[in-house]
């Protein structure tokens, strides 16, 4: 379970998170929507401790992420994150991209790591690209590779930060399909996305962020069908 309690975070003068409260239960899929600069992506990078927070608490399975005593490297093993920019490691093959962390972080043998990597790469539809270098893949394929790379660590949670925003429109579908598959398999996920119909399809709950505040959260039918907050209505009207 991920518990976010009154989290505040500023970049210099700019307060990007103004007291966020959100609990995500095991197996739940929560999507976060909102305009740019609303703090959605920052929240994700705070959850796995890539960004420090100013006040409040984020607790993952009972471990306080930003406590001094927390071993972040250990914690990150169970929280996978995929970014808008997939950050493929260009000097490694697709297979090596995925085996690197299991081998170096989890200390797996090469054979074990490769077995897991192959399984995950097949899962995201890249079973025939194992020995290819990522620079030879399309953006959508690289993004799916990044998803497999995160999944190879067998995380309990997955965070997706606008993973389709940097893709050509015709490549968005294949990545969304992959995400949908994960959701159906019961992976606990928090997704930041601009794909509204996708959010409506896969989410258990949808949160709307506006200027650092979670203005509204609810079932997708409610958020998209009957938004209560004025800003949610405005936002949804503008993206439709």
């Amino acid at each position: 379970m991920i518990e976010i309690q009154n989290v505040r975070k500023s970049f210099g003068q700019l307060e990007v998170l103004k007291g966020i409260d959100l609990n995500v239960a095991k197996g739940e899929v929560v999507t976060v929507i909102g305009g740019s600069g609303s703090g959605k992506s920052t929240l994700l990078t705070c959850i796995n401790g890539l960004e420090p927070i100013d006040s409040g608490k984020i607790i993952v399975d009972g471990t306080e992420v930003h406590a001094k005593s927390t071993d972040l490297n250990k914690l990150r093993q169970k929280i996978g994150i995929v970014f808008q920019q997939w950050n493929a490691f260009p000097h490694l093959t697709v297979l090596e991209n995925v085996t690197l962390a299991p081998r170096k972080v989890l200390g797996m043998s090469k054979a074990d790591a490769e077995a897991i990597a192959e399984k995950q790469l097949k899962h995201v539809g890249l079973g025939d690209k194992l020995s290819t270098h990522p620079t030879r893949l399309s953006g959508g394929q690289q993004q799916r590779m990044a998803i497999a790379r995160a999944l190879a660590m067998s995380p309990d949670y997955m965070l997706f930060d606008e993973v389709t925003s940097a893709l050509d429109p015709q490549l968005v579908g294949e990545v969304l399909e992959t995400l949908k598959m994960l959701a159906e398999e019961g992976m606990t996920m928090i997704l930041v996305t601009h794909e509204m119909s996708f959010a409506r399809d896969v989410s258990d709950r949808v949160a709307f962020f506006h200027q650092g505040i979670m203005a509204e959260i609810g079932a997708p039918e409610q958020i998209f069908g009957d938004p209560q907050h004025e800003e949610t209505q405005k936002f949804l009207a503008s993206v439709r």
Partner: protein
Amino acid sequence: MFDYTFQWKQVLARLPKMLDGAMVTMEVAVLSMLIGIVLAIVLTVMRRSGSRPLAAFATTWVEVARNTPALFQIYMAHFGIASFGIHFSPFTSLLIGITFNNAGYLAENFRGALKAIPETQTRAGRSLGMTSSQSFRFIILPQMLRIAFLPMTNQMVWAILMTSLGVTVGMNTDLYGVTQDLNALTFRTFELFAIAGVIFYIITKVITLGARLAAARLFRY
């Protein structure tokens, strides 16, 4: 006005000696590069470490290596250090001087190469649970060495050519030192140094071309 008679035969008879010298030259250059690369990586890590004294040490090294003559650096390694009662052989002094120079220049090359690697690469590594040192070793370092590969071959060429400065500290087993000694014996100055020049040219050319070929094969991504 021009009464110098070329006597190539006499000089070519000494070619095997010069080739032996060329081997020593290669030895010094290769060793100085291998150690230089390791030291340059250490200097690079020191500059990124966030520790002021370490960064200052590394920066001073790079500054001195790049902004003083290589001859000065070799001199200091031999005669300078000798003032404190530590005496190195000409071979060792030359090796230290060139290695110092290599490490400084390479560290600067590495700095440039690092700028070409997006910060997000480290972030991707960290988000997979790697420590910052693991991210550096397995993600950043290999990319850095690839980007800096051709500048590194440049430095290798420099290392070969810098060995000629060894004569100033009494080095007489490398190509330039051997040539100088043969000159003192035979006075066939033009022929000897012309041949030495050709050998230098061939060595560096082979290194440059070999490196290009290797780069094309190795770094095709």
